[in-house]
Amino acid sequence: MSEQSGAALEPAIGEAPPVVEPTEPTTTPSLWPSVPRSVLVARIAIGVVLAAAALYAPFYFEPALNRVLSQAIYIAIAAMGLNLLTGFNGQVSIGHGAFFGVGAFTSAILIVDHGWSYEPTIVVAALLSAALGVAVGVPALRVRGLYLALVTLGLAVLFPRVAQRFVDGSGGVALLRPARRNFSSLITGLDDDQWAYFLSLAIMVALFVLAWNLVRGRMGRAMIAVRDQEIAATTVGVSLARTKVATFAVSAAYAGVAGSLSVMVDRIADGTNPILYFQRSIEFLVAVVIGGAATILGPAVGALLLVVLRRNTEGLIEGKEILSPALFGAALIAIVFVLPEGVVGGVRRLLARLGRRSAARAAVAAAASTPPDANDSQ
């Protein structure tokens, strides 16, 4: 009732015209307003096309390109983890590269040193990363905003050094290369690269659906409340500590799974480059922001864009390969300028504008005729 009248006073973007529903107060939480039918149709159409493209892609492209797509998928998973933490819970982390690294080395060590087959190591990687996430999340309760970003930055810088100290790869360097046969396809008819792609894709879809459910439920509302107003959240019974630490753990587990998948895709766990995991952290953050923070599809769009941008800025100018990071940086700046809410935010705004137009038409029609039908709002 109150939601309905609130909507009538102040129509939210993309919301259907206010509908009085006398029998039953709406069950839709106000965070997720019902959408006009045209927007819904557009979403379903886009979804079907995207799904078809994702399923057909590995048969169309070369193995090398499939690998790039698989990289986009694991970056998307890690970015989704970061999105849960930063986008929905407001805790900025530049340390997710470390969780990613823990996942990667967990899988690589179990395979190379202990003879595990690959698939079960994903679970172990997720659990270990989550445990580390709790270990970081608890002290993170005391620090906020910029300071948290800095502490987590330290984590990303520290990780490769810890790896160098404690991991003995071939030749004494912290570099593990599991053999190709560990990742061979479990489905006949699929090549290894296609198998890697589909396994990553399946895990990504599962984790994205999980994230979607998470943020729509009790936990998600607690996360958002803590992000927007900590003190107000506590007054309505949200446990700050529990929410923040749990988000940290889930977020870290996502990054750990991504790291584990990276071992399958790239067949390497590398601890020799001191700033590699810092760069990874940056990649995840970039994917979140250019895709659209606090959206569900944002990290996937951002990750794909990131990989495509990086691939296309490499060697764009003949003989000036040195410039490719500059082009990449310029592209980042351009995206932030043009789409300050990320790609998904921009598209959403566009759809909302279309929806508002059709909603306005519907409202005019409804005013002209009988009282509106309640089903229109769904």
């Binding site: 002290p139 910029l146 300071y147 800095l150 003190i231 932030v336 300028f337 809410e341």
Partner: protein, 295 residues
Amino acid sequence: MQLFIEQVLNGIGNGVVYGSVALALVLIFRTTGVLNFAQGEMALFSTYISWKLTTTGMPVVGAIAISMAIAFVAGALIERTLIRPVETARSPLNVVIITLGLFLGLNSLVQLVFGTDPQRMPSPFPSGSVSFLGDARIQKDTIGLVVVLLAECVLLWLLLNRTRLGLKLRAVAANPDSARLHGIRAGSMLMLGWAMSAALGALAGSLVAAERTAFDSSLMQTILVYALAAAALGGFDSIWGAIFAGLVVGVADALTIQYVDPLDGIEVVLPLALILVVLVVMPNGLFGKRTVERV
């Protein structure tokens, strides 16, 4: 004991470097409220300009002064053209992405313009070392850095706390809207903050490069991490905190390398652990101001 003093001096030498970059970070944070990840690369670019000028036969001090002036203008331009347009955006992360884009872009521009070979930056200070506490020796370069750093601190502190301009700068950083209502030109103040910070970075970078035997485009990357650590440890808005924390990080690092064998190769654990402990006990850093929040 001799070894201990040498290591402490060694650590102070590095700590001064971290402190001076942390100072530029703190300045930009105090005047604009932005954490600038491109600080190190901006300083790197200016360092190369200083170096290029010295190769034309210009005296080192003059070269550094000109490079600081160029950095001052460039810093203001960056604020006006790249940072300001996105600052109104809903998400503060957008500014972070811009500075990260700058980080990547400037680094590769440096390599393109100045080449990838290591270069030698001449020092503005006399060479050699003086003895200190018995047999330990301290480089004159290091003493020079300490002196310059202290001078910077005093000047900055006077500027921010004892002048009308400093008051305006702080007012804009604290609350741009209220500052505007009081007739302060917030835009100019933000530009000035970036300009000063870029100039400080130019000075720090040039002196750091001069202290080392050679430098290349990776000069600032590890330094930036340590400087960020120092800035966090000192409480992000304190000038003296940045310097003190820079020294703490530098000395702790040097002593760990020397004395704690199990941490061999991962001595960076210690400063980070230090930061974690300090932040958990004192969330605003050692010298940071407590902020009171109204609900």
